[in-house]
């Protein structure tokens, strides 16, 4: 063999640290999105929809529409933060800034660089989830202490969506190509994963499809934790799904990026 074997150690945290340091500066603007977005949504759905949809029946509970929808804002921000970080931002670092090329002259492997980036994407998901949770808590829409478990869940969800994003980063031709997975996967998930209405209102085939995608499971558990009704079974199914999903996407992402960066 004339090419180095895969190498994956804790050194990936050095790349995570680089991203963390950079983020300290851009955070002043970056935190505005997770701060303002839930405010807009709660205002729009809380005020605007109140008369159209007075209440929603969910798992034996009857809740206001805005309360039903609020946990979805946490879950979708987990999805979008990791996915965008490990697509657009990682692509810029790889392709335009050539940051990865520079790091390849230090004692880090490609796998460590990419895993560090994915861990960072998951960290951004956690930070966004905390801010969204805080805003929604002020509005009295979140149940504690069970909602605190959303924080580690955000990390796992971030790993899942970040790994998926990195797979695309490994294969897209140019940065505009990311529109495709976003339009084909993220937007439908955003709309149909039990986010804005319960999945049981969907036709049977669509319910099955919804059960196959990661956001449905993330939304379901996030909502269960935010309402304080999640049982061990809910936790096991969602966490299990996200673990398996990550276990499939992460090696794919590492392989795709290794292929792309090895010239």
């Amino acid at each position: 063999m004339n090419r180095p074997a895969w190498a994956l150690t804790w050194r990936c945290l050095r790349v995570w640290r680089r991203d963390w340091l950079v983020n300290r500066q851009s955070w002043k603007v970056g935190f505005l999105v997770p701060l303002l977005e839930p405010i807009f949504y709660v205002a729009a759905f809380g005020v605007g929809f109140r008369l159209l949809i007075p209440e929603v029946h969910y798992e034996g509970l009857t809740v206001s529409y805005v309360k039903f929808m609020a946990p979805s804002l946490v879950a979708t921000s987990i999805m979008y933060n990791a996915f965008f970080e490990n697509t657009y931002s990682s692509f810029v670092r790889m392709y335009y800034q050539k940051t990865y090329d520079a790091i390849m002259a230090t004692p880090l492997s490609i796998e460590e660089v990419i895993l560090g980036e994915i861990l960072w994407g998951a960290t951004k998901s956690v930070m966004a989830a905390i801010i969204v949770l805080a805003v929604l808590s002020v509005a009295g829409l979140i149940h504690y202490p069970s909602a605190l478990a959303v924080i580690p869940l955000a990390f796992l969800g971030g790993l899942a969506f970040g790994s998926a994003g990195m797979v695309f980063t490994g294969i897209v031709k140019n940065i505009d190509t990311f529109n495709l997975p976003i339009f084909l996967f993220l937007t439908p998930m955003f709309l149909f994963s039990g986010t804005f209405f319960p999945t049981d209102t969907l036709p049977h085939w669509a319910q099955m499809a919804a059960q196959a995608v990661p956001l449905t499971h993330l939304v379901h558990l996030t909502r269960g934790l935010c309402f304080g009704i999640a049982g061990w079974r809910d936790v096991a199914v969602a966490v299990g799904y996200l673990l398996v999903f990550t276990a499939l996407c992460l090696p794919l992402a590492l392989a795709a990026m290794r292929r792309r960066l090895t010239r």
């Binding site: 063999m1 004339n2 090419r3 180095p4 190498a7 050194r11 050095r14 790349v15 640290r17 680089r18 340091l21 950079v22 500066q25 851009s26 800034q97 050539k98 940051t99 090329d101 520079a102 790091i103 390849m104 002259a105 230090t106 004692p107 880090l108 492997s109 090895t262 010239r263």
Partner: protein, 308 residues
């Protein structure tokens, strides 16, 4: 092998690099001895950067072997990179961070503790006269400053061996001389250096030994002065425009020369009387005698056609 591995920082043997079917590096064999400043010269697309990328283990070898510090780059890349500094051809600085952070964070990749990293950053900023720009953003720097920062960054781990891919490209004469002076100091401190450059004057001045490659193959290897003496001699007559009589004279005497149409170079080796004869008989004003240079050697060996 005549000398042991300790004296040699880099040893490439029958190195090859293919991109698909295109051959970028073709059976290249050379050694960089410890403490030496070794030049890797060649026209655009000759395979210099490809060779360098293999040398620090970022690009898989398509054939041959490459050892740094006596260790195989394929298996021991991590240990090798700890002791190696690389200045890339592109200014791949981190534009999201300040000048100082670029150095400190890069030091972090080597696992250098923060306090030490800060000290090193101070030292390197001073060494490259960037100490006033530590807090600047990278995009505020001039091209020359960026280049110096890339060089500084290559040295955060205090490497014993520096690989520099066109470190002075884009620098003004002042900065270039400054970099030369710094490289000289590093060499005095015992740092070995592999240098690529398109400035022949720079190579002639700095390199102990060098190779000239073209289309992935080594054309010559030697000390700059020896190469000049061997291939062009110390005296070159340059005549422009060229009169037909001079052409005949050169042909008739069988002199080594290069005819560029409007300009002719005649390699006189060490024969000054030949110059006087040419000047007297064929060209009074439009003829100069000058020293042979490494650039003459380079052009003679690699030809004058444009690459790529």
């Amino acid at each position: 092998m005549s000398s042991n591995a300790d004296d040699c920082v880099l040893e490439a043997r029958h190195l090859r690099k293919l991109y698909g079917k295109a051959v970028a590096v073709d059976d290249v064999t050379f050694r960089v001895e410890r403490g030496e400043l070794f030049g890797l010269l060649g026209p655009n697309g000759a395979g210099k950067t490809s060779t360098i990328r293999m040398a620090y283990g970022s690009s898989p070898l398509s054939g041959g072997s490459l050892r740094v510090f006596g260790r195989d780059i394929v298996t021991d890349w991590r240990a090798i990179r700890m002791r190696l500094g690389v200045c890339h051809q592109d200014n791949n600085l981190d534009t999201e961070m300040s000048v100082r952070e670029n150095l400190e964070v890069f030091a972090g990749f080597f696992g250098i503790p923060r306090a030490v990293a800060r000290e090193r950053a101070d030292k390197l900023l001073t060494f490259f006269e960037l100490e006033h720009r530590g807090e600047s953003e990278v995009h505020e720097l001039s091209g020359g400053m960026m280049r110096r920062l890339v060089l500084a960054r290559a040295m955060v781990n205090e490497p014993e061996f520096l690989i520099l891919d066109e470190p002075t490209t884009g620098l003004d004469p002042q900065s270039r001389h400054q970099v030369w002076e710094r490289l000289g100091r590093l060499k005095q401190d015992g740092v070995s250096i592999l240098l690529t450059t398109h400035y022949m004057e720079e190579a002639a001045r700095l390199c102990d030994r060098l190779i000239i490659v073209d289309q992935g193959r080594i054309l010559v290897e030697g000390r700059p002065r020896d190469l000049v003496a061997q291939y062009v001699g110390n005296q070159v007559v340059e005549s422009s425009p060229v009169c037909p009589e001079l052409r005949d004279f050169v042909k008739q005497r069988g002199l080594e020369h290069e005819d560029l149409g409007h300009r002719m170079l005649i390699y006189c080796k060490d024969d000054e009387s030949l110059f006087r004869e040419i000047a007297r008989r064929y060209c009074q004003d439009n003829c100069i005698l000058r020293m042979g240079t490494l650039e003459d050697v380079f052009l003679k060996l690699t030809g004058r056609d444009l690459r790529e």
